[in-house]
């Protein structure tokens, strides 16, 4: 298979997965929410909402086709990699624009009282089980130990190498050090994520969210574990090849590609399974309770910026359910959440600086 065909195939798969995901997302959100805005349970199923949905579907199809055409066009002009990146950028930026446009139209459907901060809130006294905490803690401990050890091993081993690029040796261990503990820590935060119930639903809503939350914690923990294992093995192999002269990756390229493909299938397969079986935030499990109104944080438009960022300084929750998307997001008004974002940025910049500065010596 030539490089151009491989790159175009990768672009096609990526665009179809992301485009398909965006296309189906409105079908799995909780009743009452419409493209990141709370519009009320009845408005969310009215004619105006249906028109917005049709417009979204059209937009997704146009974007998917457009990004493939741009990508293929640049590839045919002799620059397949540039086509791959540009096609992906067209899809992502286009999707952001489409979302913001649809979100602002959805906000106009919200009832007038939704423009003011809600003073009422309700919570279930159902304890449930904050399930998955043990696995998340294990994933965090494992990923920190494995990623730090691999990064140190690669750094020390590089001293013995001749004629090797520092960036080529340190890129994978650096990525592992930044991403694996981050995903594991997010899984641990998700164990106690906020539950936004439907008051008076008789408990169906909170049980649905508990089930969804537990599944998400498991998925994130396993993602951290598998990703860290994959990156650790890859890092060690890269270092070993770097230490031996005249060595090339050879069959390892195929093995790595196959393992990474399996990892992607695991992630995408589980996302599809969860969205099909549970819906975002347990939306599908709580269908029977969907007549009752959503309460508090998720139903309060004043606490959300563009329907994407939740900001509430009084709310001690670190993670809250996404209004539009998959899984949970941070409460940017929470001190721990902000500290986490800052720590992530500092770690990313430090690792990148270490690798880049080391490469110049």
């Amino acid at each position: 298979m030539s490089e151009a065909v491989f790159v175009n195939l990768a672009l096609t798969v990526r665009v179809l997965i992301v485009g398909g995901f965006l296309f189906f997302l409105p079908r799995v959100t909780r009743v009452g929410l419409l493209f990141g805005a709370y519009v009320g349970e009845s408005s969310a199923e009215g004619d105006a909402a249906r028109r917005l949905l049709r417009s979204w579907y059209r937009g997704c199809v146009i974007l998917t086709v457009l990004s493939l055409m741009v990508g293929y066009g640049i590839s045919l002009a002799g620059r397949p990699l540039a086509g791959n990146y540009t096609g992906t950028a067209v899809l992502l930026l286009g999707a952001l624009g489409l979302y913001l446009r649809t979100y602002s139209r959805a906000r106009a459907l919200a009832p007038p009282e939704a423009a003011q901060q809600a003073t009422k809130a309700a919570a279930s006294l159902y304890v449930g089980e904050p399930r998955g905490a043990g696995l998340a803690k294990f994933a965090l401990g494992f990923s920190i130990i494995a990623a730090v050890a691999t990064f140190a091993y690669a750094t020390v081993s590089y001293q013995a190498m001749t004629d090797r690029s520092f960036v080529a040796i340190m890129f994978v261990p650096g990525l592992n050090l930044v991403l694996s503990p981050t995903v594991a820590l997010l899984a641990l935060f998700t164990v106690n994520a906020k539950r936004s119930i439907r008051a008076g639903s008789g408990g169906g809503s909170v049980e649905a969210q508990d089930a969804f939350r537990a599944t998400m914690v498991n998925l994130m923990s396993w993602t951290a574990l598998l990703f860290c294992t994959f990156m650790t093995v890859l890092s060690v192999q890269i270092v070993r090849l770097g230490l031996s002269e005249n060595a090339s990756l050879g069959a390892w390229v195929l093995w790595t590609a196959a393992l990474f493909l399996l990892f992607l299938i695991f992630i995408v397969g589980n996302m599809v399974r969860i969205l099909k079986g549970y819906g975002q935030g347990g939306a599908r499990l709580e269908q029977a309770a969907a007549d009752a109104a959503l309460t508090d944080g998720i139903a309060d438009n004043t606490r959300w910026v563009w329907g994407l960022f939740y900001v509430d300084r009084d709310d001690p929750s670190i993670m809250v359910e996404k209004r539009f998307g998959f899984g949970y997001t941070l409460n940017y008004g929470n001190r721990t959440a902000v500290l986490f974002v800052v720590a992530f940025l500092v770690l990313s910049i430090s690792v990148a600086a270490f690798v880049l500065i080391g490469a110049t010596r």
């Binding site: 809130a121 309700a122 919570a123 279930s124 006294l125 159902y126 304890v127 408990g203 709310d315 929750s317």
Partner: protein, 133 residues
């Protein structure tokens, strides 16, 4: 499944709203003795209020004998006391007298007072659904 609701717009502090509702649910038997309640962090997160608000409500109910706070097991509904001691009983009756006096001062008639008391007792005995007045 029992749930509670708060309104930050009311004059009543949120911790008292939480405590009042839990007290009523326990008295009505909706939360039986031994029932575990959500942790302070979970309930505060679900309601979107400060951790101290829920901790204060739980501590108040612990002092009143409605809850037992254990380090590991969390917050558990206490078993009803077998018999109430003299001074404690006198204090509670004094509170009842003060409340009745305030209600009378607020304009309630004797008949209305009796109806309200009967209704609350009926709720506690499980013969009537809790209303949310």
């Amino acid at each position: 499944m029992a749930s509670i609701a708060i309104d930050r717009g009311l004059e009543d502090p949120v911790y008292r709203q939480v405590a009042d509702q839990l007290r009523r649910l326990i008295a009505a038997g909706a939360l039986g003795s031994g029932t575990t309640l959500p942790s302070v962090r979970q309930l505060a997160g679900d309601l979107g209020v400060n951790l101290n608000t829920i901790a204060r409500a739980y501590r108040l109910l612990e002092r009143e004998g409605f809850l037992v706070i254990r380090d590991r097991a969390g917050v558990v509904v206490a078993a009803p006391a077998k018999e109430i001691e003299g001074p404690a009983r006198a204090r509670l009756l004094e509170e009842l007298r003060a409340t009745l006096a305030r209600l009378r001062q607020a304009g309630m008639t004797t008949e209305e007072l009796l109806t309200a008391v009967r209704r609350e007792v009926a709720v506690m005995e499980g013969s009537k659904e809790i209303d949310d007045e």
